[in-house]
Symmetry: C2
Subunit: 313 residues, 2 copies
Amino acid sequence: MSLPDRLRGVLSPVLTPFNPDLTPSADGLVRHCRALVEQGVGLAVFGTNSEAASMTVAEKRALLDALLAAELPPDRMMPGTGACAIGDAIELTRHAVRAGCAGVLVLPPFYYKGVSDEGLFRAYAQLIEGVADDRLRVYLYHIPPVSGVPITLGLIERLLKAYPGQVAGAKDSSGDWDNTAAMVREFAAGGFDVFPGSEVFLLPGLRAGAVGCITATANVNAGEIMQLYRQWQTPQADALHDRVRRIRGIFQALPMISAMKEAVAWQSGDTAWRAVRPPLVELKESQAAELRRQLTEADYRMPMAETLAYAKG
Amino acid sequence: MSLPDRLRGVLSPVLTPFNPDLTPSADGLVRHCRALVEQGVGLAVFGTNSEAASMTVAEKRALLDALLAAELPPDRMMPGTGACAIGDAIELTRHAVRAGCAGVLVLPPFYYKGVSDEGLFRAYAQLIEGVADDRLRVYLYHIPPVSGVPITLGLIERLLKAYPGQVAGAKDSSGDWDNTAAMVREFAAGGFDVFPGSEVFLLPGLRAGAVGCITATANVNAGEIMQLYRQWQTPQADALHDRVRRIRGIFQALPMISAMKEAVAWQSGDTAWRAVRPPLVELKESQAAELRRQLTEADYRMPMAETLAYAKG
């Protein structure tokens, strides 16, 4: 089995649609993934914005199997597989690697806070050695505002030295450009692929040597973000950058996951898309109305929205 | 099946011993639980200090089964069953309830931060309705320094109103006495049992109307903490309080879980007790030496330590 090409470009932590009883909708996820792939967006399924932490390992395995059965391309997939219990992380990572996924995005164990780099090194080492598969490509997931457990530059250096073949890159969702720039400066030349966690850093990232971005709002603004990615070296780049920033700002002012689901519900005409799992809650109607108003004012339109309805008649 | 009496007194989030390959040692856990029960300490297995977050649901189910097979008393058990994915929480909670455990200690879903009381209410409601068993007794676990997700007084009020039979109490590990006092003041009269998360608050807690405490250091100082609990209304209480505070202070100045395991290893003569799962690390030898020095200076001795060795010859 040959290895897929390294992932690059724009990936989306794919929103997970739920049925009215809050079970995941495999059909809805397949539809959404198809639309994203068709627009050129890679599939970082089971990310923070996928409500992955709210799903069991068994649910995530079943969803991944459904995507593969629907012939979505594993070489464009970077499922999130990190967990507090390394046993859970190993199980889902192994499943992803055997399915041919090009990479996995791995949160550190995130319950205990203030842990040492030595402890986090051991956690990643135990995962890599537990999976024990040369095809494994690990992307380290740095998202301290949510996880509370940062991935330091020193940790990356140690992991790269110990597992140069497996440690492939990182997603930096710190929102701290200086940190993203430091990751690129220190490690990109050695083949460590850095993805900023927002399209706001896509243009500066590409200019600095990042390979793309993994961004939640690609769920709802794939077309414009891909246009920026494809034209980043043209004179239009800065205007495209301003445009995607504007749309992101509208979503970011609200609870993002619920706001994105609201937008898909509105654009697809399928209100089932509003469902989120606890501890998240859907937008209040006043928030939803304000979201629609601002998006309308910004001439927003979601491409392929009509293909996303999974529950309505 | 009649209901066990309400839990009260001193409970310990029981340390989980691991084998050299980091699998849990059921034999070691049984030995430790036996020693705790013999001293009068209840079993809050699978707590923060049990490294419960670092174990899979299957591992925790198997350990609970081993404790029951060893005839440890379920009416003295309050296993931790909270999880980010409600499906995992339901599975382990149902297992505990069917085993006859007197209660379960339930963390809120702890990945997403800044979530609303409405979202947390739904998470607990989904757990309670998913388990659907009248014997279920839920203790809410408030530990914001670790979980990052507080259990507010407003949330407790809503849950008590919706599920008066199932919502039995709380463990308050905020370290904020004012919050513990407020929980007692607002809800204890209605049968809501408050356990401060440290023996430092045992005496003031009992004086205010709390029913005991759930404290990590009961793993290593059960005798003295139980003595304080039994004699809290005697003239010796304040001196006993000062004594347990002193011992706790020694452990608390170090990474607590690793320090407690080091103390058990030292006192039992079984170095296997040192093992922790990533992302935790065992104490450095210099820290361990300082711990032993301070405990020796404090005339510390762990009761029943000789029964705890599980791995040595």
